[in-house]
């Protein structure tokens, strides 16, 4: 039999044979095996789509009195059909250099990894219009890049394109730690209403609602504490109104200012 040196995945081809009589052709490769009855002297036809998995194949022709073997390659289709796009992390603080990584795997229509070098473009965009773009040539079927998170809080769209195939992921760029926390207090009935100024990170982004702010009041060797979530960027709480009390605030590892309540004078 006469085998082609290589064929493209999914394409049709034929394998001419010589001799007389009947024989069976076996084609065995990675993840796929075919069996064809062959009339020796004619050609064994492999229809389009029959051999779709790329790789190195072994062909065995066994007749009544003789047999023949040979090898050939099935190569991926050159045009990308789909991408496997791994974007990490899906959520990160703003202003992080090379904080976002994107890795793309390029596949043909039969899910074969296209190992031929191809230009892959990555684009990270935020609704404000800022776009970071990189073009990387794939190597052994994959390409990767790293991007910076934007200085402003946003939901970014991370898109990878190779040929006509593209894949998109969403990256949440969230505020970082509070830059400073400042509190003020005023009487509220018999209690003391304490509230923060709008809490922001060092890039000016409003800290996410739900972030815990801890208020602590120290008075006469006793302490009152309460963990309050931010609502609309502000945390507020009613605390005991003790003249001479010291009230402080913190969120995570960031401490804010301390005030001393002198009774409202």
């Amino acid at each position: 039999m006469t085998l082609p040196r290589s064929v493209t995945a999914g394409s049709s081809f034929s394998i001419p044979t010589s001799g007389n009589g009947k024989a069976v052709l076996y084609i065995v490769g990675p993840g796929q095996a075919l069996r064809r009855a062959v009339q020796l002297g004619g050609a064994a036809s492999i229809a389009a789509g029959d051999l779709s998995s790329a790789g190195h194949y072994l062909a065995i022709l066994t007749g009544e009195s003789s047999s023949d073997t040979g090898e050939f390659d099935v190569t991926p289709v050159d045009s990308p059909e789909s991408l496997g796009f791994l974007a990490k992390p899906s959520r990160l603080p703003v202003g992080l250099r090379n904080g976002i990584s994107g890795t793309v795997y390029v596949f043909d229509a039969y899910h074969n990894l296209i190992t031929k070098p191809l230009p892959a473009s990555f684009e990270l965009s935020v609704p404000s219009g800022t776009v970071q773009a990189r073009t990387v040539t794939t190597r052994n079927g994959l390409a990767w890049t790293a991007m910076d998170s934007a200085p402003k809080e946003a939901t970014a769209k991370f898109v990878a394109r190779v040929g006509g195939a593209s894949s998109a992921r969403v990256i949440q760029e969230v505020p970082g730690d509070p830059c400073s926390i400042s509190i003020s207090a005023h009487p509220n009935g018999g209690r003391l209403a304490v509230e923060t100024a709008p809490v922001r990170d060092c890039s000016g982004n409003a800290i996410t609602d739900g972030t815990i702010v801890t208020f602590t009041e120290n008075f006469n060797n006793t302490q009152s504490t309460v963990d309050v979530p931010l609502k609309k960027g502000i945390a507020s709480v009613d605390m005991p109104a003790n003249k001479g009390a010291r009230i402080s605030v913190a969120s995570g590892v960031v401490a804010g200012n301390e005030i001393r309540w002198d009774g409202g004078r």
Binding site: D177, D209, G210, I212, N221, T222, T225, P229
Partner: protein
Amino acid sequence: MKGRLLAGLILVATIALVAIGTIWPIPSAIAFAGGGKEAPLGSSSTPQGAVEALGTQIRLRALNKAYASLSNKAEFTEDQFVHDLNGYALSLRTYATLDGVEVRPLHQSANDAEMVMKLRWSTVVGTFEDARDLHVVRSGDRWAVVWPLVHEQHVPPQVIPVNYLRWDVIYSGSGDEWGAQDVEAPHVRLVDMHPVNRADGVVVMGELLNEDVVPAFVAVRATLLAKNGSLLDSEGTFDMISHTLLPKQVTPFIIHFPGVDLSQVGSIRMEPVSVLVSASADPVIEIVGQKYNPAPGASVTGQLSNQSGQTVNVAHVLSTFYDKNGQVVWVSGAYIDRALHPQTPVDFRVPVPEDLAKNISKVSSVVSTYTTGSAL
């Protein structure tokens, strides 16, 4: 020969004692075995006997008889008495069993007496003690207890608007394409870790911060490795951590390694685990009037005030104790045996080991809560 004789005598004596116990059982044995119609009352002819009898009836859950024996039962209903003991809402008390009663006389005259009754309750998370100062009065030839009913305060019926955040999570599904991103696990960080050698073994304690913008379910596992790298022990925090951490919230943790000495330990491997979970910023619990009480009887005391509109069934206070350099010297916790009703303060007390008490200069506490129908 002598051995057989001795064995025979022991057998005969055992059979005889079992027969005597079966035919003429003592009243308390009948009662505690669930039989008999009457509780094994102590003698009410003395103040101590009256209090002991009351304790026995409570232990047997014969609360109607306990209520009937009280001197001041006209001041409250039987339901109020039962709620005083078992709690008004679902709480640790609801499923607690009375493990023991200790009665201590303080003062006695011809017609009245003062007693302290310590009720030791057993729950799934340990024991708690309920001490009552009792006034006992003479009535004819008998003594009866004046029960100091603890009236639970209730806020008037009202609507409390709650608009705190709630986080829900949609996870990736099996139908998603390969490489599709899942929701990122929350980023948590150990901000302090400190091993200590104690008499009963090594203790590893520290603090964990949720530095993300989403809530996290957290746990910490510590593994002790010997100097040659072999595994000594691996333990988790179990309940000595506040498992649900909201954004930027810090929890202390403590892990015990009984039977291990710190001199055996070459290194410690810490594994904080975080999982993104649905959570609510409600309820907010205020810690009011927290005070550190030095030795003897070193502890942190204060009150918890539930600022939300829903009843918190179980609350767990975790306190972190720091020295003057800000280093964590101990982490301790205490469960609150009563439910936290809205805006109704409840006392708490977190004990501190006496030998560490002198090193403590600052205390910080967090409260984790459990409400029926939600995760802890």
